[in-house]
C-alpha cells in the first residue's frame, strides 16, 4: 500500500471531504495560502478558494464562534486551533455552546463541527505549546475527542469526525506529523469510539494513546525478552472511550497500566481507572497504575522536559511491580 505521513494523511482527508461535500469548510489562523502552521492544510486554498478556506486573525473565540454558528446553520466546519494550549481562548464556545447545541435545541439542531488541534510535549516548546488538553474537556457531555496514533487512523478518523453530527475535538500530536505509514487512497472511515489492540499479551494491559502508544510498544518488545507479555491498547477515541475492548483485555490480564502525557492530578486516565474499578474489580490482580506527566508545567530545556514526560524506565518499573504483585 502507498505510504503517507501523518500530516499528509490528514490533508488528504480534508481534501477528499471538501471534494465530497461542499458544506465542509476549513477555518483558522494561517490555514489559507500558507497551509497552516504545520502545513496540514496545504493546497486546499488553491483548490477550493477563499470561500472555503478561511484565514482569520488571532481570534480563537471567533473561530469557534463562526464554527458553531455555521454548524447550527447547516454547514460542516473544520476549525484549526494552532496549538491545543490556545483552546482555552475558545473554551467557552466549546464547553458552553458546541457541546450543548443539540440539547439546547431539544434535538432539532446538531453541531457537526471538528476542531483540529496540535498537542503534546517533546518538541521543546515549553509550557504554552506542549500541553495535552483531554482532561479539560472530560467533564463536558456532548463532546467527542479523538486522538489517532497512525497516518491510517488519522485519515479514517478525521473523515469519520467530519461526517459525525456531533462536535469532535481532534488531537494531532506534533511529534507524529512526520511519521509515515500505509494509507489507502480512497476515502474510508475508522469508527469513532473503538479502541485498537496494537499488541496482544496476557500479563498486563497498557492503555494509552497518540505518541505514548509507541513508547508502550517499545517497552512491550523489550519485556517480551524477559518473558513478560504485555497487551497494548491504543484508545484512538478518548471519549467516549471503548469500554468493551478495555474490559475484554482486563478479563484476560487482570493488570492495568494507564499512560498519558498530561499532569497526574485530574488526569484523563483517572476516569478510565475509576470505571475499571467500578465495573471490573473482581478481575483485578493488582492495583491500577498510572504513568503520567508530573504535576508541573512542561518545561523547555530538554533535560527538564524529559524529566516531566513518562519514560521507558518508569513504565518498565511499574510493569514489573504489578506483574510481581
Amino acid at each position: 500500500m502507498r505510504k503517507l505521513s501523518f500530516g499528509r494523511a490528514i490533508n488528504e482527508a480534508l481534501d477528499q471531504e471538501m471534494g465530497r461535500d461542499d458544506k465542509v469548510f476549513v477555518i483558522g489562523e494561517d490555514v489559507a495560502q500558507m497551509g497552516g502552521d504545520f502545513g496540514v492544510t496545504q493546497g486546499l486554498w488553491k483548490k477550493y478558494g477563499e470561500k472555503r478556506v478561511k484565514n482569520t486573525p488571532l481570534s480563537e473565540a471567533a473561530i469557534l464562534g463562526i464554527a458553531n454558528g455555521a454548524a447550527m446553520a447547516g454547514l460542516r466546519p473544520v476549525a484549526e486551533i494552532m496549538f491545543a494550549d490556545f483552546i482555552t481562548e475558545c473554551y467557552d464556545q466549546l464547553v458552553n455552546n458546541s457541546a450543548k447545541v443539540h440539547f439546547m435545541f431539544n434535538g432539532t439542531v446538531t453541531c457537526p463541527l471538528v476542531v483540529r488541534t496540535v498537542n503534546g510535549a517533546g518538541f521543546h516548546a515549553a509550557y504554552h505549546h506542549s500541553q495535552t488538553p483531554e482532561a479539560w474537556f472530560l467533564n463536558v457531555p456532548g463532546l467527542y475527542m479523538v486522538a489517532p496514533s497512525t497516518p491510517y487512523e488519522a485519515k479514517g478518523l478525521l473523515i469519520a469526525s467530519i461526517r459525525n453530527d456531533n462536535p469532535v475535538i481532534f488531537l494531532e500530536h506534533k511529534l507524529l506529523y512526520d511519521m509515515e505509514g500505509e494509507v489507502s487512497e480512497e476515502p474510508y472511515t475508522v469508527e469513532i469510539g473503538k479502541a485498537k489492540v496494537k499488541k496482544e499479551g496476557k500479563d498486563a494491559t497498557i492503555i494509552t494513546s497518540q505518541r505514548m502508544v509507541y513508547l508502550a510498544l517499545e517497552v512491550a518488545e523489550e519485556l517480551s525478552k524477559e518473558g513478560i507479555q504485555l497487551e497494548v491498547i491504543d484508545l484512538r477515541t478518548l471519549f467516549p472511550f471503548d469500554k468493551d475492548t478495555i474490559f475484554d483485555s482486563i478479563a484476560k490480564t487482570g493488570r492495568v497500566i494507564l499512560i498519558n502525557e498530561a499532569p497526574k492530578t485530574g488526569n484523563y486516565v483517572n476516569e478510565i481507572s475509576q470505571t475499571i474499578n467500578e465495573e471490573m474489580f473482581e478481575f483485578l490482580k493488582a492495583p491500577i497504575k498510572r504513568i503520567t506527566g508530573l504535576d508541573t508545567p512542561t518545561a523547555f530545556a530538554p533535560k527538564l522536559e524529559n524529566y516531566y514526560l513518562p519514560g521507558k524506565k518508569d513504565i518498565i518499573e511499574e510493569v514489573k511491580e504489578i506483574v510481581e504483585y
Binding site: 470561500k51 486573525p57 464562534g65 454558528g69 458552553n96 455552546n97 440539547f103 439546547m104 431539544n106 467527542y144
Partner: protein
C-alpha cells in the same frame, strides 16, 4: 418615510404584548409558578418590537437575556414560549432552557447564550452561512451595554467588518449592567457605540424608546446587510423599569431616575399619543388593541399552566446525535 397604518399598528400591538407578557411573567414568578431567573424587558419594548418588525422569519436572531419580546415575535407559537418559561414539557425547548434559553430553529431564533458576549462570535457563523449559501438572510444580535465589555465583542466586530458579514448589532444601552453604570466602567468617545468606528462599522445612536426611530434605523441597517455592505451597530438608548431580575429591588438606582423614565419616556404611551394626535387611530381603536393583547396573554397563560411538566428521563435526550447517555 412615513410608516403605514399597518406597520404602526403592529409596532404598537407588539409593544403592548411584550409589556403585558412581562407583567404577567413577573406576577406568576412572584406567585411561585416559575422557577429560576427572570430578566424582564419592561420599558425596553420599543427596542425589540422595532427591530423585529424589520426582520424576516428566515433571518437569524440572537436574543439576549432580556429578550422575551424577541422570542415572542420570532414566529414560535407564543404559548410555547411561555410554557418554556413555566418549565413545561410543551415549552419550545421541552423545559431544558427556561426564560434565558428560548430557541426555535424553525424561525431561526438561535437563542440566548447565558455566557454574556458569547453570541457576539456565534452570530458570525450564521451570518457567514448566509454569505456562504448566497442567501440574503441577515443576522440580528442583541447585546447589553455591560456585555460590550467582553473580548468576543472585539473579535467578532473585527471579523464581521472585514468579511462584510450581514449582521445587525442591537446594542441595548439601558445604562446599567446589574448595578454598574455604563460610564463608570467603559471608556468611549461620545457614545458607547462609537467604538464601532475602530472597526470601520457604521453606528447609529437612537432613542430606544421611540419605536418609529428604532424601526427606521433597523430597516436601514437590515437593507445594508442584505445588500452585502456589511454590519451596522444600532445603539438604542433605553432603560429597564424593573431591577436586574424579577424581584430585584434595584436599590442601586435613584428613585427619581426610574420615575422619569416611567412617566415621561414610556415607549408605549408615546406611540399611543402620537397615533391618536396624528389621527391615525382613534382612542377606541387603540384601546381595542390593548384588549386583544390581554386576551392573547390569557390564552398563553392557560396553555402554560395546564401543560404537564417534563418526565425526569427527558433530561437524557439529545446529549449526542445518535448516541444514548446512561440514566440513573
Amino acid at each position: 418615510m412615513n410608516l403605514s397604518k399597518r406597520v404602526l399598528k403592529e409596532l404598537y400591538y407588539n409593544m403592548v404584548l411584550i409589556r403585558d407578557f412581562e407583567d404577567m411573567v413577573d406576577k406568576y414568578a412572584k406567585k411561585g409558578y416559575i422557577p429560576g431567573f427572570i430578566h424582564l424587558s419592561t420599558g425596553q419594548e420599543a427596542c425589540q418590537a422595532g427591530v423585529m418588525l424589520t426582520l424576516k422569519e428566515t433571518d437569524y436572531k440572537f436574543p439576549d437575556h432580556r429578550s422575551h419580546g424577541v422570542c415572542l415575535l420570532s414566529g414560535t407559537p407564543k404559548e410555547r414560549v411561555l410554557a418554556e418559561i413555566f418549565a413545561k414539557k410543551t415549552g419550545i425547548s421541552g423545559g431544558r432552557g427556561g426564560s434565558m434559553h428560548i430557541l426555535d430553529i424553525k424561525c431561526r431564533n438561535m437563542g440566548f447564550n447565558a455566557i454574556q458576549g458569547a453570541n457576539m462570535v456565534t452570530c458570525l457563523g450564521t451570518a457567514f452561512a448566509s454569505q456562504y449559501n448566497n442567501t440574503q438572510d441577515v443576522t440580528a444580535v442583541f447585546c447589553g451595554d455591560g456585555t460590550i465589555g467582553r473580548g468576543e465583542v472585539h473579535e467578532g466586530m473585527n471579523i464581521a467588518a472585514k468579511w462584510k458579514l450581514p449582521i445587525i448589532y442591537v446594542l441595548v444601552n439601558n445604562e446599567y449592567a446589574i448595578s454598574t453604570r455604563v460610564e463608570s466602567v467603559h471608556s468611549y468617545p461620545k457614545n458607547l457605540s462609537d467604538r464601532a468606528w475602530g472597526y470601520c462599522i457604521p453606528n447609529e445612536v437612537i432613542d430606544g424608546n421611540d419605536v418609529i426611530a428604532v424601526y427606521k434605523a433597523s430597516a436601514k441597517a437590515v437593507k445594508r446587510a442584505r445588500d452585502g455592505e456589511g454590519p451596522t451597530v444600532l445603539e438604542l438608548l433605553t432603560y429597564r423599569w424593573q431591577g436586574m431580575f424579577s424581584g430585584d429591588p434595584a436599590a442601586y438606582r435613584p428613585k427619581d431616575e426610574v420615575k422619569i423614565w416611567k412617566e415621561k419616556r414610556c415607549p408605549i404611551k408615546r406611540l399611543r399619543e402620537k397615533m391618536i394626535s396624528d389621527k391615525i387611530f382613534s382612542a377606541e381603536e387603540v384601546d381595542e388593541l390593548n384588549k386583544q393583547s390581554l386576551e392573547e396573554i390569557e390564552g398563553m397563560l392557560k396553555y402554560a399552566i395546564e401543560s404537564p411538566e417534563p418526565e425526569p428521563q427527558d433530561a437524557l435526550k439529545y446529549i449526542y446525535a445518535g448516541k444514548e447517555v446512561e440514566g440513573r
